[in-house]
Subunit: 477 residues, 2 copies
């Protein structure tokens, strides 16, 4: 356990007993795991380990969710919603035990509407499966978090997930037209619309997207689709130094060029890729992975402009175009394997997810090197350069190094804020970054959000301990 | 006064006296209008006339706003914020008198950041002036409400304004990165970010955008800019019938073609344009005004694809390309003049702003004709066909016709909802549509929004009577 759990109130043994009894009676025992079977639900893909839940509800429909949240509120037992369990900041980690509400069995695609370009889905469908499904019918769902092979749409909406294609297409919020959500206590809320435009009332849909499972549990999601771009092309640019890569990104943005992805890898990351036996020119100490899409003519024109901009600056070693889908797949395999590959480099790894204004990328990269040197913590950086969103990874082997890592993380957060940036671009605040929230947001803004949280969940039982720093003597909210 | 005012609580004469005294003492008499000078502030561009306010504060900076909202809450006097006063649903109409807080003198552009593609502005800058300013530097701010020559950014953000270019570029919300807002009582909130990506905490920025002046008054707005598209081309397609125009829109969307504007005018609207001495082929009973932008090569390719799709269906009479900026300007002049032109057709006009899924456009147009025939109310329809967002206008001359008009409006709202649509695409709910809100949203969702409103403004003094239907014995919220 690398992240200390916040001191949120724990449910009483009596409350647990009553909740288990009610759950079994209402849902049937086959949908309620207890005992040893619950152990794996204490964790997600973050470094945090929660308290093993007393029960895991395997919801198979909206009514299971409604009943669970009704029982939880009436018995006073906290609930941690979970979809794919692939989050990186502990969003699905049950910090107070209680009930984990698993929605990953709810995989129904209720509608794919070809005329209105929308899909209505349950929260448990795997993002990559949705991609495949809609692409077969000529449509495209752009958000592509790295974990798309195992993460679920419900979690993507809860965390407002991004991914490489966010540079051109935006993040999950821009594709959520409407939601059905169940609130703690069992109230059901339908928000949003089936039209691309609409300003009726407050934007409660956007409030729910990215709320990290603290406001409600999604039972149905209406997603906007776009037509599938007919052509895709990938280009790899190798640089003598990552700063030259950063300068090339700035030139592309200033020129108004919008590839769908604009990924950057630094020297240490390239070494990790090489260790996976991917052949990369040994002189390269910085790389851009660029992907364009659209109609054939547009794509070709954009590729030529990008090549011109890349060649027009210093430090370019080589420019390689993927000639076919197999080559494209190989390039992306290396990129997608980065997270597991870097995990192998050391016993422990923490991947941060900060964003800086795109004009400050060079300062960020220099600052990260200074932090690494000061704290003597090994680090590597890659990420969505087009958005200024970087995954700074800290690596270490010895438990004794942890205080230095904590200093490095705090220094990175402070650096990010000083550059006009934000703590998280796509992973959320969760458990991992709650203590840093006051670096970015004022006490007034945090208090207002705590008030909003209590409107939805007065007893603070839904995903406690997330987003907001825990105050002494208070719960997680 | 065509729209009855909701029965919101009125401030006591004592409260007004104390507020006036405090305002004069704190802001200086030059910033506080009273008496006859306040009369014009009882109205905006909607058909509603409010109660003449006791005072109008001409704010020249954020501190004026903070002081006004502090005094208003302590004395219990309602405040109606106002920017350009061009709203169509009564958002700036003071239903309870009190104070109008005018922000249109706050026109400062604090920053245009060329590297990070953003602008930081005060709420009073006229949208068209902002367009000109950023375009001179090579940037582009897409939202273009019809009133862009006189509406202000502050009002655009409050209403989440759209415009023709929303089809490609999206509405105001997609360009608001961050806000500084002052809440009733004087609390100042800074929300959002300066980066394109960021998921820290709840999306309070999106909650404030489109909140129609009921949650806070914007004192500073951080806007995302995009590079100015180098080429723009405009095409006019004339059809034998508006339904053929609708079918052509569906074909373009299915093909994935994204012009920046895709406007539709029906036969009655074309007659109104002809009455302005704009020459249009007399056979045309439906028209599409299509505009594309981008790099030269892309623009040309897109134009050719659009021409192919338009020619491939029935009912096309003619296809005219604007050959130069003067021709483009003339085409748009006719479109922009529609609102004043149609106003001249009758003594009274109400312009609705509904949205339907794009597959239901034909049903909407047929349904509107049925409503017109049933109620015998004259009507015409034009709007942003690409988004399914139509301005259905009802016209009448005799006060005695008003009950029939009310029946027509209600029938239109019910038709819209039955087609899976939404009550408003860009004008907001305001006063005009508050009574129809329960047609679209559940009691639970409306109650939750009332609760959110009270978090921001516990005494319900900020822009009372807007969005939510007034309950007997209650105020506007």
């Amino acid at each position: 356990m690398l992240i200390p759990l916040p001191k949120t109130p724990l449910p009483s043994p009596d409350a647990i007993t009553r909740a288990l009894l009610d759950l079994g009676r209402t849902l049937g025992d086959s949908k309620v795991l207890t005992g040893d079977a619950c152990a794996t639900y204490a964790r997600d893909e973050s470094e945090a380990t929660g308290r093993v839940p007393a029960a895991v509800v395997l919801a198979s429909n909206a009514e299971d969710i409604r009943r669970t949240l009704t029982i939880a509120e009436s018995t006073g037992v906290p609930v941690t919603p979970r979809a794919g369990g692939t989050g990186r900041t502990g969003g699905a980690v049950p910090v107070a035990g209680g009930i984990v509400l698993a929605t990953d069995a709810m995989k129904q695609v209720k509608e794919i509407n070809a005329k209105d370009l929308l899909a209505v889905v349950e929260p448990g469908i795997v993002t990559g499966d949705l991609h495949a499904l809609v692409e077969r019918e000529g449509f495209f769902y752009p958000p592509d978090p790295n974990s798309l092979g195992s993460c679920c749409i419900g979690g993507n909406v809860a965390e407002n997930a991004g991914g490489p294609r966010a540079f051109k297409y935006g993040v999950t919020r821009e594709y959520v037209l409407g939601l059905e959500a169940c609130l703690m206590g069992g109230r059901v809320l339908r928000t949003g619309k089936r039209t691309v435009k609409g300003v009726t009332g407050y934007d409660v849909t956007s409030l729910l997207v990215g709320s990290e499972g603290t406001l409600g549990v999604f039972t149905e999601i209406t997603l906007r689709l776009v037509p599938k771009p007919p052509e895709v092309a990938t280009v790899l640019a190798l640089f003598e130094d990552v700063r030259h890569a950063g300068a090339a990104v700035s030139r592309m943005i200033a020129r108004g060029l919008v590839p769908r992805c604009l990924e950057m890898l630094d020297a240490a990351t390239l070494d990790a890729v090489r260790a996976q036996k991917v052949a990369i020119d040994p002189r390269a100490r910085g790389m851009l992975l660029i992907e364009v899409d659209g109609e054939a003519a547009t794509t070709q024109a954009l590729l030529e402009q990008i090549a011109e901009v890349l060649s027009g600056g210093p430090g370019l070693i080589d420019l390689l175009a993927a000639q076919d889908p197999a080559q494209r797949a190989r390039l992306w395999e290396a990129r997608r394997a980065l997270s597991p590959a870097t995990r192998k480099l050391a016993k422990y790894k923490l991947s941060e997810d900060i964003v800086v204004p795109r004009s400050r990328i060079a300062e960020l990269l220099e600052g990260v090197d200074v932090i690494g040197a000061d704290t003597e913590v090994r680090h590597l950086t890659y990420g969505h350069a087009g958005d200024g969103n970087f995954h700074v990874n800290f690596l270490w082997n010895d438990d004794g190094e942890r205080p230095a890592v904590d200093r490095a993380i705090e220094a990175l957060m402070r650096l990010t804020i000083s550059l006009g940036g934000t703590l998280t671009g796509e992973h959320g605040i969760g458990l991992s970054k709650a203590e840093y929230l006051p670096l970015e947001q004022s006490e007034e803004l945090i208090e207002l959000q705590r008030d909003i949280k209590r409107l939805f969940d007065p007893k603070e039982l839904l995903n406690p301990g997330k987003i907001f720093p825990v105050r002494p003597g208070h719960g997680g909210c």
